[in-house]
């Protein structure tokens, strides 16, 4: 009998040892962002770093924070070859303005483009702690009815589009491990 009891004790401790808390692990893949990668227009296989790129959502006052550690305006500036931007999870389009070289003293050097993304969104169950996540599917390019476009580019400041070519590489935005949009400039 003692053997049985000790066996049961081992069994129960074995069960209880590997339980996670009810806190959503930050490493869990949840709602993904749209991942952009920038390439050189003249040499399409080479990555191109952006200069002081500021990305501001429509009707928002502040830009997306790219640099968590900075305290001044530099936290809104991206200088790498890739950026990730969050889409609205409750509607089917999100508009952003992309301000290249935003800190330049010469106003003529600053170039602003706007892009409106059209998509559908789905809510997917993750776990008890994390709840649901939203994944997105960019609308396909369709020239016959029903018409749809994945994105609409507009030149808000009238000095030409700095994003000369924009391609949708992966219309299914389910994680942040891969590039969804390639931009050549």
């Amino acid at each position: 009998m003692k053997k049985i009891i000790s066996l049961l004790l081992v069994f129960t401790f074995g069960l209880s040892s590997c339980e996670k808390d009810d806190i959503c692990d930050p490493d869990t893949p949840t709602t993904p962002r749209l991942v952009f990668t920038f390439y050189k227009i003249n040499s399409p296989s080479e990555l191109q770093n952006v200069t002081d790129l500021m990305v501001i959502g429509e009707d928002e006052k502040t830009g997306i924070i790219f640099n968590e550690t900075a305290t001044d305006t530099t936290k809104y500036l991206a200088n790498g070859s890739t950026i990730s931007i969050p889409l609205k999870t409750n509607v089917n389009s999100t508009t952003y303005t992309f301000i290249l070289d935003s800190q330049n003293d010469n106003p003529a050097a600053i170039n602003t483009d706007a892009i409106k993304f059209n998509y559908t969104h789905q809510d997917v169950y993750v776990s008890r702690a994390c709840g649901f996540k939203t994944t997105f599917t960019l609308d396909p390019l369709s020239t016959s009815p029903p018409f749809s476009v994945p994105f609409v580019q507009t030149d808000t400041d009238g000095n030409g589009l700095w994003m000369q070519e924009v391609f949708v590489i992966n219309p299914n935005i389910e994680n942040e491990n891969e590039t969804h949009i390639k931009v050549f400039f």
Binding site: T30, D123, G131, F132
Partner: protein, 271 residues
């Protein structure tokens, strides 16, 4: 969860206390049995004489015990998110073994930070209990350890949920009302049940028990999870579960069996 843990620890504490007491009683019975053997020592053949002396006879009652889980029944009065009932029963098979079963219904709304869901369904559990407690004379108390297999059929309703967005640039979205029902769900599990039952008067017993459970089969709904399984309790990331009950039951005696206390025969061949 806090309450479950509290109950678990307090019952563990009680178990340990009762176990200590159980050891005391066995030692006292041994000394008591040793006493009548003493005066008959003058003979050359002590074995024969000991076998001839009248054995102490104990009458064990066999029958069916049925009851109800008061914890589940009364919880519905103070917890608006819970409705449940559990009927418990056991039948004494041998001196130490009992066949045991539980039958129940639960309706529980689980309100987590990001999810609110309701599980409704019935369950059945069956197995056996082994009585570890050595009773004095005609006492009929039990300290049991047992095994059960459990099975539940239930439905789940996802009432509302929140989107987890680690980059809330566009602000945190309020909870989304889903009201989506998932029917025809089933789950099966094994549990180790530890319990105490004490006869309070006549044939009325009061008992409590804790169960440690392991989920073995679980049909998860498409695009959701079973957050609560009637009979199993809430689920965790693994297959582990825990349960608690507080029962009041009535014993229906069916027949009696006289048993000879075996210690005397064990003592006989000793020289």
């Amino acid at each position: 969860m806090k309450h479950t843990l509290k109950y678990f620890f307090s019952s563990c504490l009680l178990f340990s206390m009762v176990l200590v007491q159980a050891q005391e009683t066995t030692t006292t019975t041994v000394t008591k049995e040793a006493v009548p053997a003493k005066p008959k020592t003058e003979s050359a053949k002590p074995e024969l004489q000991e076998a001839a002396k009248p054995d102490s006879i104990k009458t064990d009652r066999y029958g069916l015990r049925v009851g109800v889980d008061l914890y589940k029944l009364t919880r519905g009065l103070y917890d608006k998110d819970y409705k449940g009932i559990e009927i418990v029963g056991d039948f004494r098979l041998t001196k130490k073994y009992y066949i045991a079963a539980e039958l129940g219904f639960e309706d529980k709304t689980t309100d987590d930070d990001r999810l609110n869901s309701t599980a409704t369904g019935t369950y059945i559990k069956g197995g056996f209990d082994y009585n570890l407690y050595q009773n004095w004379l005609d006492m009929e108390n039990l300290i049991t350890i047992g095994l059960r297999g459990g099975f539940s059929t239930f439905s789940q309703n996802l009432n509302s949920y929140k989107i987890y967005n680690p980059n809330p640039y566009w602000g945190e979205q309020p909870a989304i009302i889903a009201d989506k029902k998932y029917n025809g769900l089933t789950a099966g599990w094994l549990e180790v049940a530890m319990g105490v039952k004490a006869k309070v008067f006549n044939n009325v017993f009061v008992g409590f028990g804790v169960q440690l459970k392991m989920l073995v089969a679980n049909t998860k709904p498409d695009g959701f999870d079973n957050l609560y399984i009637p009979g199993f309790n809430r689920t965790y990331d693994g297959s582990f579960g825990i349960g608690f009950n507080y029962t009041v039951s009535y014993f229906i005696p069916i027949y009696k069996k006289k048993t000879v206390i075996p210690q005397i025969k064990k003592d006989a061949p000793k020289k």
